[in-house]
Symmetry: none
Subunit: 134 residues, 4 copies
């Protein structure tokens, strides 16, 4: 699992880690039962404080996404895949909602939004596919 972090983002590092794990589960990179990297391993890989990874994993356990398996570390729970997908969809719906509300209030038209969505989608789709190819 690769972990791309943005240290200057206003989203906390631990939260970014949580999301990336959920991404990986949501799109099938991680499946139910798979082990996630150990806290120390991921901390080194991502050049991050161990506590930060620990907190992310703690949150994911609390959400039932990860389960602890005695002596071997943490693994993706059976319910995680479907749950991740639902969670993501709901989170996206919520953020989209506030985004659109602001767009309406600042006088932007539906057409502008639609074309923005289409343009960004195709741009990002290419970008993501390219990075996977690597």
């Amino acid at each position: 699992m690769i972990c791309q972090l943005d240290f200057q983002s206003d989203i906390p590092i631990y939260e970014q880690i949580c999301r990336q794990v959920k991404f990986a589960i949501g799109n099938g990179t991680l499946r139910a039962g798979d082990h996630v990297p150990s806290v120390r391993e991921l901390a080194v890989q991502a050049a991050v404080n161990v506590n930060t990874v620990a907190r992310a994993y703690r949150d994911l356990q609390a959400q039932g996404i990860l389960v602890s398996i005695r002596g071997t570390g943490l693994a993706v729970s059976p319910e995680a895949p479907s749950r991740c997908r639902d969670d993501r969809l709901e989170m996206i719906r919520a953020r989209l909602s506030t985004l659109l509300r602001e767009a309406i209030l600042s006088g932007i038209e539906m057409d502008e939004i639609r074309s923005l969505v289409d343009a960004e989608w195709s741009r990002l789709h290419k970008e993501v596919r390219a990075s996977k190819a690597v």
Copy 2:
């Protein structure tokens, strides 16, 4: 100018004030040369500390949205209206971009996004129109 603040939001109050002022300029409620309410006045209206309003206004000055007219208060700068609209569009584009990127990474399809956008847009549009009617 009305100022609706959400004290529970994770967006700082001063930032919310900035945005509302920009909204008001963007959609023509405030025009170039208009005075904004005094810091004290808005502070009372919004039930917020004077310094908080002052900070918002200071940021807006730094961004060239407001200009200080010595002893008489702050006014909307000539460039503000066009600038606000551009800024808003760009901000929305940027947030939409990260939103869509996450959607792609978590395995959501374009169709789902499109229908979400349409559904939310029409829902919000009614809501906003209703609140204006009041």
Copy 3:
């Protein structure tokens, strides 16, 4: 006498008025014994609060630049012309000094300063001459 004010400058309006009067005396536009416009007249002309002009004139009286002539208003004092010129020269010398000190500390060379002075001088000279022609 024309009075060009910059309402967005960080120099107070009353101070700008003082300087402009001194300019006018320094370069011969106003001579010893000439009347300056009345407080109200100048306030209207310059679109400024009456108190502001009053304060400027008060300061100029305190400095002996203007003298009050009973019933007729304020006039340029006999000593003003030479004094204005000396004052200005000294003020310019002082500000030039701090400016050059910072230039030296930030590693700028004498040649750069000399060429800056020459370039700005000729640019401003044209500009000023043009505005007088109007």
Copy 4:
């Protein structure tokens, strides 16, 4: 980093701090990536309130001079060094410009300015060299 403040100056303290930081970056005392002292630390060192330092740092962030590294403090941005140097030259040019404009308006001649510049420059040059020798 040393921070020399003048509490009598009419330049706000936070502004003085900004300048000193920029100066330190401009002349290489602080390099890209270096951490600046923490707000609390500098506040103690300079005998100033924490908020005052915080405001200076916040302004520097808004200008892109400093970047925040979550939980670890603030660091000099990669673009800062070149930017700081350009800023200083431009600041000097701007102040020279207003200085010369006033000189022209008050009837001072180019020769007088030139000799002033030469005289002050050589005087200050000696002074600065002497203080460095110490």
